[in-house]
Amino acid sequence: MTPAIQLMQVHKHFGALHALKGVDLSIEQGEFFALLGPNGAGKSTLINLMAGLLRPTSGSLSVMGYDVVSQYQQARHALGVVPQELVFDPFFNVREMLRFQAGYFGRGSENDPWIDEVIECLGLADKAHTNMRRLSGGMKRRALIAQALAHKPPVIVLDEPTAGVDVELRHTLWEFIKRLNKEGHTIILTTHYLEEAEELCSRVALLKQGEVIALDTTKNLLASIPGKNLRLRLSGKFPLSLSEMVRHQDQQEYMLGLNEISQVEYVLSELRNAGVTVEDMQLIEPDLEDVFVDLVTRK
């Protein structure tokens, strides 16, 4: 089957900056895929290249088998992009914007039932006739997502769709996107909320400084972190002997990485020797954030 997205040796230079350094990536149709990486890793550059907003310095990109440069019309038909910035056209209301957006893709009134469905599923029904300018930030975000879906593209790219969005919308949004994925749409997601990626995405690519440093199923990536995490709430001075095991710290809350479960005993004895009281303790599985921190700091 033709891959939904295929990148071969894609380089992108911005003057002296080498933003993407020969990225190879293939995303299959029907995947729910996460593109992760710290700020400035090249995620948005990659998305802008897929969308034709940028042109690659070298290498090739295709969407559903169509080259984004030489067959840009077919490639763009196949792609719906939710941009990261909260942009809107202040002259029109939500429904008008969606009709225009579908119209640019050659869709007319036969597409109206789909637009109604998108409006309904994203909770925009009572704002459909409201001018874009008058919408709250969260509603503008919904409208932006709706615009990317207006022409019902087989491949949907969501660039930080839940940035600054409340819990209710996140829930509504993910339910709808999960449904679209079940119906066969390929979903590509960038997010800073790693728990979202872990819950939703079957495969993850991790970008760092313009290179893919990890590309695997979420399951394999999670398995790559050995042991477990130990969350502790302590009172007293944390012993220096344990400092190498600390993965995160927030005031008196510590997250320690354990290579094996038997290390719990060692940790507790060190704490006891240091005269530190354990107020709360929890043993948890490593998550994507641990993988992320591990890979980004290691390489």
Partner: protein
Amino acid sequence: MNLINQRMRGPWTLFKKEILRFWRVSFQTVAAPVMTALLYLLIFSHVLGTKVEVYEGVPYTVFLIPGLIMMSVLQNAFANSSSSLIQSKVMGNIIFVLLTPLTYIEFFLAFLLASIVRGLVVGTVIYLTAICFIDLPIVHPMFIFAFAFFGSGMLGTFGIIAGLWAEKFDQMAAFQNFVIMPLSFLSGVFYSIHSLPPVWQKVSHFNPFFYMIDGFRYGFFGQGDISPWFSLSVVVGFFVALSILTIGMLKAGYKLRG
């Protein structure tokens, strides 16, 4: 809408959106320029109405109207494409068009035709208002239409170039105030260039706006400073040259795609 086939629907939608964009704020985009033109007419005709006669048998007030109409047509055609582009660029919503399969030619045609429509609407409203008060002859209606069409087309194209080039509103304002305004005011709207010293007459011949105004006026009175056919060739020539330049810029993605 059913008359538009699927292939044409994309550019048609962009054209329609551009038309609605100015129509939604027609108080600002149509009524305001009409008001400005009528104020010019009122003031200049009051001051000079009976004292100046540029063409024999044509009172100054009547002489003035075609020039004012054409100046408004040109300025509004320019304003339509340039302001739409700069606003979309600054607000970032240009991305909604850039993500679509619209070709650069379709993009160009939609913006161009919307500018022509705005120019013609403003011109028509000024004309209809003016003839309520003043008798205005029409000798060659085809010249009137041809100059209005190609003139607004040329300025609409010029507006696309300015809109692509400018990155901020003040750059656009500078373009409008230091290029468009001087060219339109020094084009013979308020006078015949025969009334100028010989040097300035020569300089005027390098101003494309002069040909648009003079040719347009010829359509009303059957007389002008130079041959209307020559003027029309100059205007069409400029229109074609600017269109080629604009299409080239759009094809290269100038300041739109990195």
